[in-house]
Amino acid sequence: MSDLSNLTIQEASRLIQSKKLKALELTEASIGRAKKLNQKLNSFITICEEEAVSQAKKVDKLIANGQKMNALAGIPFGIKDLFSTKDIRTTAGSKVLENYVPVYDAASVARLNNANACIVGKTNLDAWAHGSSGENSDFGPTRNPYDLSRVPGGSSSGSAVSVSSGSSLAAMGTDTGGSIRLPASFCNIVGLKPTYGRVSRYGVIAMASSLDCIGHFTKTVYDNALVLNVTAGEDGFDSTCTAQKPDDYTKDIEKSVKGLKIGIPKEYFENLDRKIKGLILEAVKKLEKLGAIVEDISLPNTEYGVAAYYIIQPSEVSSNLARYDGIRFGKTREKFGSEAKRRIILGTYTLSSGYYDAYYLKAMKVRRIIRNDFVDAFKKVDVIVCSVSPTLPFKLGEKVSDPLQMYLADIFTVTANLAGVPSLAVPCGFIDDLPVGMQIIGPDFSEKLLYQVGYAYEQETKWYGIKPKI
């Protein structure tokens, strides 16, 4: 059944629960495809055939017994290899952890397992999630299924590609400065960076703790809401998780955008590539046609985003990577790649006594100002729409030797992380056969609203129907 790879969660779930499709069949198809495509795309570091098959069999048995199941039951998932998975090697994309096998599951992994999702593999990523292209992986770069000579975006490169190429129906990722939204946009899929504190970070190898968000990739907006329904909410282990109860994210997803105010932040369009700008504004027009009200707004401190981000993030990275000393587990520090070393040195410097006030403290103040920009904007508008990326998916090797150019790939995404607000990346068309994505950014805990906007737009366009030719 070759079209299994085109199924959405919504469709597959209906088939499985009505016993028209066996979870085992779907899982095996996924694994088969993952194995077949991995040589070309390199989206998986580890394929968990045995575990996925036994989970799928369990699901089929439960369904045969008439048990009511979560919509994710039997759905093949890819998990970024930054999430701890009990008894399954977890590398963080780095040779330092080449042989590290966790003794526990990350909170979100445990929730997926409880919902009886089938984890088909651990996906490739820039080592330690440091990167915007996937090229920093110690296990080789992942390739963009729409053009194998181009990058899929990073750092959650493998997760995005596994969904985009039909090897999984959904995949977990992390977004510290754009690591979900950028690859989602480069691979024509939907990616959510939730509000900071919406999903537990427990068990996910920390990059920059005050910025890290646990999110996911799916083909459609509806599917995305289904996954958040499972992962959102306190777990008792992440103290930065909110006590605020999560919404039912699929409920009212079809609600019209009529009367909704959409802000267009001028700073995000000023020097934007003409073609990309054209696509984003076309999408905005679609929403306007559906009844939304479009307003020009300003997020005046946007230009300081990347600078503040590249102080706060490496500072936290330098501390978070200190435990990888090769004494208790993992390999020695010589195994760190150059990007990790660069960030460790940068962060160690910015936290040093005498420099802390000038760098870290100042950056934290800028962060507050950037958040205030968003808070002020959301007094005027309900959501903000802008491009995810300043460029189209770029060529492998194009930016590897120029870290600053690579960092600037995140120029439109880091601000949401600094502000803590949620942002949904949704496909909005193609330029020269390469995907483009837009961000829908909302106030804290407005994921439900973001899904409504994304869903309304997606119903009009259905870009997910355009599959990569692989």
Partner: protein, 455 residues
């Protein structure tokens, strides 16, 4: 002496909470098999996150409150970054600029008997590290790490450099221990390592101190260096280490040099301090707010509750014992040294009221006879004292009558004694004891017998 010692203390106390500071593992690790009280959190495994122990925070605030500290309405945890194999995460979660409590003080009694205030800079909370053991296994020298201690709540109490002798430092530290025990927040046992002392010692020229203008002392300037002492696991060693250090630094100053700013370890066997780390190699801990733990906010009402729930502290108890029970300062001091003894005393006093045994008598008995308070109930102690006091209730006149009666009834023994048989006296004492039903002090009976026999 030409120099006045300037001594400040950093004291670490492990808090007696059920679970560790940031995870659910048992904090009671003493004697446990290595690495059995561990989990992903206290092992610092990738992805694990801390969850703050509310009880430990409360204990720290309790202690801060007991030593007159201000409790901060807004506080937070910070990361202290340094590398050591016993530090699982490569950083220690501690508190930097917003500790739970600041600016308290403690009164201590100097050797001369004067009262002296020692200022307390802060009391904050952090986590303990794992423990390293150096061993030789199969002819290989190895270092073993036990993470049972990793993440045990550790309170750090920092004093101002207000102490001027090893004795004052010892008395201060003992008082800190006493308060921790009174509050029931730690056993503060130096031998077990649940209390650790790190003195900072330097010397100041006496002339700088004694400059007096308009009757006020000139502002005391701190010496341009300080030496931190480590590896001290008893009060005795703390005193020894400080005394040694004072002598060592004085010799350097005598030569016109300034002692190096450094960390020195105390060698128990040799009774000396040895340089461990000099200023050039001092750590830059790169403190920054712990991003995994949100800032903490408290209310005045919460602080009020903490203050109201404080049990009576040693100083208060001491004053009350003097006032309420008419005890001397010496007795009051001994009885309040440990809360258990103080409570035992008070219960015994209550039990003694009926039998009209005074608090003073009970105090004397507890101090001099040192009954096992774990085994003897206060009421039993009182009846024991009662019986003892009954014995002396036979007056001297009554005793004389008994002795005379005994002498009249034991002519043979009297004659034997007069012939020089000393054994005969024992026979007579025995007879007096029988006659008095044992309510006479045998020594007293013996003395009176002798007296009457020779007259």
């Amino acid at each position: 002496m030409k120099y006045a010692p300037v001594i400040g203390l950093e004291i670490h106390i492990e808090l007696a909470t059920k679970s560790k500071m940031f995870c659910a593992c048992s904090a009671d690790y003493f004697g446990a098999k290595p690495n059995t009280h561990t989990c992903p959190i206290c092992l610092g495994l990738p992805g694990a996150m801390p969850k703050a122990n509310v009880k430990a925070i409360e204990f720290t605030q309790k202690f801060g409150s007991a030593v007159g500290c201000k409790l901060l309405l807004s506080s937070k945890f910070d990361r202290k970054n340094y590398f050591y194999p016993d530090l699982a995460k490569g950083f220690q979660i501690s508190q930097y600029d917003l500790p739970f409590s600041t600016e308290g003080s403690l009164q201590i009694k100097t050797e001369k008997g004067d009262l002296k205030k020692v200022r307390i800079t802060r009391a904050h909370l952090e986590e303990d590290t794992g423990k390293l053991t150096h061993a030789t296994i199969n002819d290989r020298r190895v270092t073993l790490v036990d993470f049972n201690r990793s993440g045990v709540p550790l309170m750090e109490i920092v004093s101002e450099p207000d102490m001027e002798s090893a004795n004052e430092a010892k008395v201060y530290a003992q008082k800190i221990r006493q308060i921790a025990r009174y509050l029931g927040i730690s056993d503060a046992d130096m031998e077990k390592g649940s209390m650790r002392i790190e003195p900072n010692v330097s010397l100041r020229k006496v002339t700088e101190v004694s400059k007096v203008s308009n009757g006020t002392k000139a502002k005391k300037e701190l010496p341009p260096y300080k030496v931190e002492l480590k590896n001290i696991n008893s009060f005795k060693f703390a005193e020894k280490a400080i005394d040694y250090e004072i002598k060592r630094q004085a010799e350097i100053l005598d030569k016109g040099e300034v002692p190096a700013q450094e960390t020195r370890g105390f060698n128990e066997q040799k009774g000396i301090t040895v340089s461990q780390r000099s200023k050039e190699f001092a750590h830059d801990y790169r403190y920054f707010p712990e991003p995994d733990l949100p800032p903490l906010h408290f209310t005045e009402r919460q602080f009020e509750k903490i203050k109201n729930e404080l049990s009576e502290l040693p100083d208060e108890k001491y004053q009350r014992f003097i006032k309420e029970f008419n005890l001397g300062v010496y007795d009051a001091e001994i009885l309040t040294r440990e809360q258990k003894v103080a409570e035992y005393f008070e219960e015994a006093v209550k039990a003694g009221e009926k039998a009209k045994i005074s608090a003073k008598v009970i105090a004397n008995f507890i101090i001099n006879q040192k009954p096992n308070i774990e085994k003897v109930l206060p009421a039993d102690l009182v009846s024991h004292i009662y019986q003892k006091t009954q014995k002396t209730h036979i007056s001297d006149d009554e005793l004389e009558e008994i002795v005379k009666k005994v002498l009249g009834e034991n002519k043979k023994a009297v004659e034997d004694y007069k012939k020089g048989k000393d054994v005969a006296l024992q026979v007579l004492v025995g007879a007096v004891m029988r006659e008095s039903k044992g309510n006479v002090d045998p020594q007293k009976a013996k003395a009176m017998l002798k007296n009457l026999l020779t007259n």
